[in-house]
Symmetry: C2
Subunit: 273 residues, 2 copies
């Protein structure tokens, strides 16, 4: 089964388009967990237990784990074991390197860590993405238009009549022979999200940037979903996992996730056929 | 002292522009090392011991270490300890992420691992590069035109009258307030290297792709150096570290590195004032 089909199945079964970003900053872990053996892992364990029925995916950003050295690598591996098989995982590393090197990253993320999908940076072109595409079951979200302010510096440059990020989408969709490519489009760019959804009507789009980064949930659903109200993967990180800094952090994360999912379901009802 | 000044000093002192890429593939490590406690580390130790007087830098590509999980992380850390202070280190990870995440990568690579410089991907724009730039002593090589075939897919797209990679150079050179920015331009593109050197006459350029990838050493020196015959950092990986697969691998690596350096010195003599 292709990654795109897997995503559809999970989104239907979970009745959710929500992805929670497990971008765990050790300094923000509640005090009462700091004395546990591995505070980061314990934090993730409780977040996952409290929210896994509400999400279609979890997305750990690799930087937060790498910043902890060997211990972070172990924590990431253990975190992935805690995620139920009913939910997909996205290894957010935005890797991009020449072919023979990209192979190593693909091996590490898919085979060693066992991620269901990853994010990759398109700047190095086809041979840098190709090693990630060989297994149809594994998804590859290619950065198109990111949620940050720097997205204007190069991604929005006009290449002929089209901005660069649209060229990326047009070019990379031709690589989608295994039905496992997706794109990343920040929730902070609703109009552009709408245009990209028209270019790729049935390809997954990961939409980060709601919550702390200021992206709007309604437009993310309205413009990010396909005609069945699927294939948008809307990510929130900090607004959910740091909803409370107290002992009730997991409960508060669940409440915040639930609020978002209920809102989502309402909007999905409005857009799908 | 800025990174650019540090690089000049090291290149003068070592009388070398050569960088050796420590892209160690465990399957290619000579058989007689496979029974040692940590074959990858032992391989690096012997390569470094045999070549450190011939180079200005070593460049481990992070993918090869990450592919080995926690053990790879330890090996990378231990490898860095083996590199003499007389030589610079380049953490080749080509990272690129939004500001608050890029900070983690910068912290990990500069503070935790202690790299002297890194490679970064420009696709996410200024806020993704900024966290790497704060310490003037630490260098940041921004990908411009990479050595691989995929470099044509997006890097060469015309943005108005200029290819994207030149726009990257023009934009990013304005960020160089701390004199610690460099660019990456593949040895496989000599004409483009010449043009970029004219745009940035006194900024370091990392030139990968000689050897196995087919880049030409003479043009890399002729077009990559500044007017003093400096600031090009010419990288070779596989052609040096796998010069022999036998017991003499370190000796053979030294012989290959020496051959390249002697050729380099000849070409530098021809270009510098």
């Amino acid at each position: 089964m292709s990654f795109t089909q897997r995503l559809r199945q999970v989104q239907i079964k979970q009745n959710s388009l929500l992805c929670i970003g497990l971008d765990v900053d050790v300094d923000k872990i509640p005090t009462h967990l700091q004395s546990t053996k591995n505070p980061m892992l314990e934090f993730n364990r409780q977040i996952i237990e409290a929210t896994h029925d509400l999400v279609c995916a979890y997305k750990p950003n690799l930087a937060f784990y790498e910043a902890r050295g060997e211990r972070g690598t172990v924590t990431l591996r253990e975190t992935l074991k805690l995620i139920p098989k009913s939910v997909l995982t996205i290894g957010d590393g935005k890797r991009g390197d020449i072919g023979n090197t990209a192979e190593r990253y693909a091996k590490s993320l898919f085979d060693d860590f066992g991620f269901d999908s990853v994010t990759v940076n398109p700047y190095l072109g086809f041979d840098s993405v190709e090693p990630f595409l060989t297994n149809p079951e594994k998804g590859v979200f290619i950065l198109a238009l990111t949620s940050n302010s720097g997205s204007k510096d190069f991604q929005r440059l006009m290449v002929g009549t089209k901005p660069l990020y649209e060229k990326v989408v047009h070019t990379a969709k031709k690589w989608n022979v295994n039905q496992n490519i997706g794109f990343v489009v920040g929730a902070t760019h609703p109009k552009e999200l709408q245009r990209i959804r028209k270019i790729v009507p049935d390809i997954p789009i990961l939409v980060p940037g709601i919550g702390k980064q200021g992206g709007d949930l309604k437009s993310s659903i309205r413009y990010g979903c396909d005609k069945h109200g699927q294939l948008a993967v809307v990510n929130a990180s900090r607004s959910i996992i740091y909803a409370s800094s107290g002992k009730d952090f997991a409960e508060a994360a669940r409440a915040e996730a639930k609020k978002i999912v209920e809102e989502m379901r309402m909007y999905v009802g409005e857009v799908s056929n």
